[in-house]
């Protein structure tokens, strides 16, 4: 018995030692095979899953065509927490060549000299502001210099569940509301919500019409609230964040009233019971939430996880019913210190200037968006061959997003798979569309706002007082940033 145990022990140790040495000496050294004699452009992107796969295939087309001609190989590296990793890598002197970044980081990075200016290159490649939807182009700029180009832009809309609206049609009508459309004003939103919300026998909330939600949890884009009440995230004149404006107060009062209407405790429990956003258990898809504030990717997710769900999208309810818009995007930038900035730019330029292409899925079964697209005809759904698209349009098509181009191509619009894309497109083109303010310390200000928001949403803090306190904090943080920038001879904002 003991001898057997000893033999076993020796065996396992031998296997571990041999395995360790074998792996260290002969194990894999890199994540992908790179063809020889090519300049490798390391491209960091946040997408995984079907979104990442699509980008990888687009990169593959570049590598096989223009890349092969010019000796460039773009290597797609999916990177989580890209905002954190990017700065660490740039500061450490070991950056990638190309990063898909968010607009709220452009000011912060550019002000520190972490990004390569691209204005001159863009002019040489004949890409100008006139080609791109202005709000998206402007988000790529800091102090009149261009630091990136839009990759996949989007605007926020209100997604609503048609089945729940139909099911509650009579009650909605009884309350004087129209079950055929989404609420347009914030007052209507609350009224719809009262009707659509359901509780079980213990008084526990089982379904809600809408929920402002916790910052960082279900409350996506909670910091956009002032915008829907006609306010500005940053004052257009001074460029500063002014949190005690009446519109900010009105929005936080609405959030407070909402929480009081349904009860802090009940809402907390309800929020706690909501599942992972990016899953088949998404509360909207299983009917726990009748309305949600989301971007066009949400239609793609619904198609993935709940293809039979009936839904539509509308502008987000505002205080006066006039549509307003919040936009964001993924931006391709070249960090300072990138070893192959020129080759990275070639890829960005290719996305915008290459003639329309087809992207093969490389699989046996034809796939939507690669080999064919689906169109609704009187006889049902029909598959037609996918028309060639410019690379920048194809990636947005496959991501269910609108085109960043001022004039989207005929084929793009005619074949677009997102049933609610027109709502998003209309919103993106509103003249007063807002994005994140181009402030180097916006993240810190947003976090301070987040703390105030949670105090109001969760603990019933008085909005006016809390926002005064927030404003004092914002002034303080702004002073710190201003002093910091002054030390490098710069002005804030």
């Amino acid at each position: 018995m003991r001898a057997l145990a000893n033999i076993l022990r020796t065996g396992v140790i031998t296997i571990m030692v041999v395995g360790t040495l074998g792996l260290v000496l002969f194990g894999p050294r890199s994540t992908a095979a790179v063809p020889p004699d090519r300049v490798v452009v390391r491209y960091w992107e946040k997408w995984t899953d079907f979104e990442g796969l699509a980008m990888q295939r687009l990169v593959g087309v570049f590598n096989d065509t223009v890349g092969a001609e010019r000796g460039i190989y773009v290597q797609y590296e999916s990177t989580t927490q890209i905002d954190l990793k990017s700065l660490v890598a740039i500061a450490g002197g070991d950056p990638p060549d190309l990063i898909g970044l968010w607009p709220h980081l452009i000011a912060s990075y550019a002000s520190k000299g972490a990004l390569t200016p691209l204005g001159e290159r863009a002019t040489r490649a004949n890409i100008s502001r006139a080609d791109i939807i202005p709000v998206y182009y402007d988000q790529c700029c800091y102090r009149d210099e261009l630091y990136g180009l839009p990759l996949t832009p989007w605007s926020l809309a209100l997604y609503y569940n048609l089945d729940i609206f139909a099911q509650k049609a009579d009650e909605l009508r009884a309350a004087g509301l129209d079950p055929e459309r989404a609420p347009r004003t914030t007052d209507e939103l609350l009224a719809y919500c009262r009707v659509l919300t359901e509780r079980d026998e213990h008084g526990t909330l089982t379904r809600m019409g809408y929920i402002p939600g916790h910052a960082g949890n279900i409350g996506w884009y909670w910091y956009t609230w002032p915008l829907w009440f006609g306010g500005h995230l940053a004052d257009p004149e001074s460029g500063l964040v002014v949190a005690n404006e009446p519109e900010w107060q009105a929005s936080m009062c609405w959030v407070r009233d909402f929480a009081q209407t349904f009860g802090y405790d009940a809402l907390g429990r309800f929020e706690g019971s909501l599942s992972n956003f990016n899953s088949p258990d998404n509360p909207f898809m299983i009917g726990k939430l009748a309305m949600m504030r989301q971007g066009p990717w949400f239609a793609n997710m619904i198609r993935q996880y709940a293809p039979t769900l009936r839904y539509s999208a509308a502008p987000i309810p505002t205080v006066d019913g006039r549509p307003r818009s919040y936009v964001g995007q993924d931006i391709l930038v070249i960090p300072t210190g990138a070893r192959h900035a020129e080759q990275a730019w070639e890829f960005i330029a290719w996305l915008y200037t290459n003639p329309p292409i087809n992207v093969p899925s490389g699989e046996e079964t034809p796939r939507e968006g690669y080999e064919y697209y689906v169109i609704r005809t009187p006889t049902g759904l029909e598959r037609r061959p996918m028309p060639p698209l410019r690379p920048i349009e194809w990636i947005n098509w496959i991501h269910y997003k609108g085109s960043p181009l001022n004039e989207a191509s005929q084929d793009f619009t005619a074949t677009h798979p997102n049933p609610v894309i027109d709502v998003h497109e209309r919103l993106a083109r509103l003249p007063d569309a807002q994005g994140d303010p181009p402030l180097p310390n916006w993240l810190e200000l947003r976090e301070a706002f987040g703390n105030a928001y949670i105090d109001i949403w969760r603990d019933g803090a008085d909005p006016a007082q809390r926002l005064e306190r927030l404003q004092a904090r914002i002034v303080k943080l702004t002073d710190i940033a201003r002093e910091g920038m002054a030390r490098y001879g710069e002005t804030y904002p």
């Binding site: 905002d83 954190l84 700065l87 660490v88 740039i90 500061a91 912060s108 520190k112 000299g113 972490a114 916790h214 960082g216 949890n217 907390g268 429990r269 929020e271 706690g272 019971s273 599942s275 300072t336 310390n441 993240l443 810190e444 703390n451 949670i454 969760r458 904090r473 303080k476 710190i480 002093e483 910091g484 030390r487 490098y488």
Partner: protein, 306 residues
Amino acid sequence: MNGSRRTSSVVGNGVATGLLWISPWVVGFAVFMLVPIVMAAYFSLCEFDGLRRPVYIGFDNFRTMLSDPTFWKVLKNTTIYAAFSLPLGAVLAILFAIALNAPIPGRTLWRALIFVPTLVPMVATAMIWMWVFNADYGLLNAVLSWPCSLFGCRPPSWLQDAHWTMPAMIILSLWPIGHPVVIYLAGLQDVPTVLYEAARIDGANAWQRLWNVTLPLISPTIFYNIVMGIIFVWQVFAIPQIMLRGGGPQQNVYFFSMYLYDVAFTFQRFGYACTLSWVQLLIILSFTAFAFQLSRRVVHYQGGTP
């Protein structure tokens, strides 16, 4: 240390020889600890964004810190966490050690099983417990649902409810208790059984024997564990960072090292982050010094002071 044992000399001694032998460590310490600490001291007096060169600003960062509500919040959170997890962990570990020290059936097995969780890497621990704490499908709530239904309440949403995140972290801190348990066990084995017999003859009951014999005799071990606990607890990072990045609802489990990391790598204020790191160092040093001070009165060393 270990003053009772004398090590006599061999030939070829002297300061030069001694320093030569410890020189690898001295070089490593100088380069990888001393230099960074001095650098941190300098950066803490600077505006520094990691990309451009640091600019000297005097004590502005310290002033900023005093009026920074998040700094006070993380200080409070970390103190609460330490105040619960350290004593709870100590009491539980001592109880387990005492139970496992007695000759009970299957002792080796129980000891091994309690020890195994300390081997699980922290990143994996964080994920396993995210799954265990899951409000709807987690192991913990599956177990709790029965007693909860008796009282007509529902098990908590551990990681989503601001009231429960801190208790969740404290519970989790007890999981790798095997490490201190093993150390306490070793300490218990050093307690001469004669003393127990003597106490028994004197008519001391189990409680008195624990209080008057066991605890004083293992007090150096308790002290060692508490000091290590203080050092460790102020650095807690990986588990809360992975489970509840940014401190979860209402930032109730936003701990010092997490904030330090965010200030540096999220907000790119490396100068201010170095200020915070110096404060962290000072806090740990003063708590440890306090523990040493206290130990003079409470800790009982066999055969004199160390």
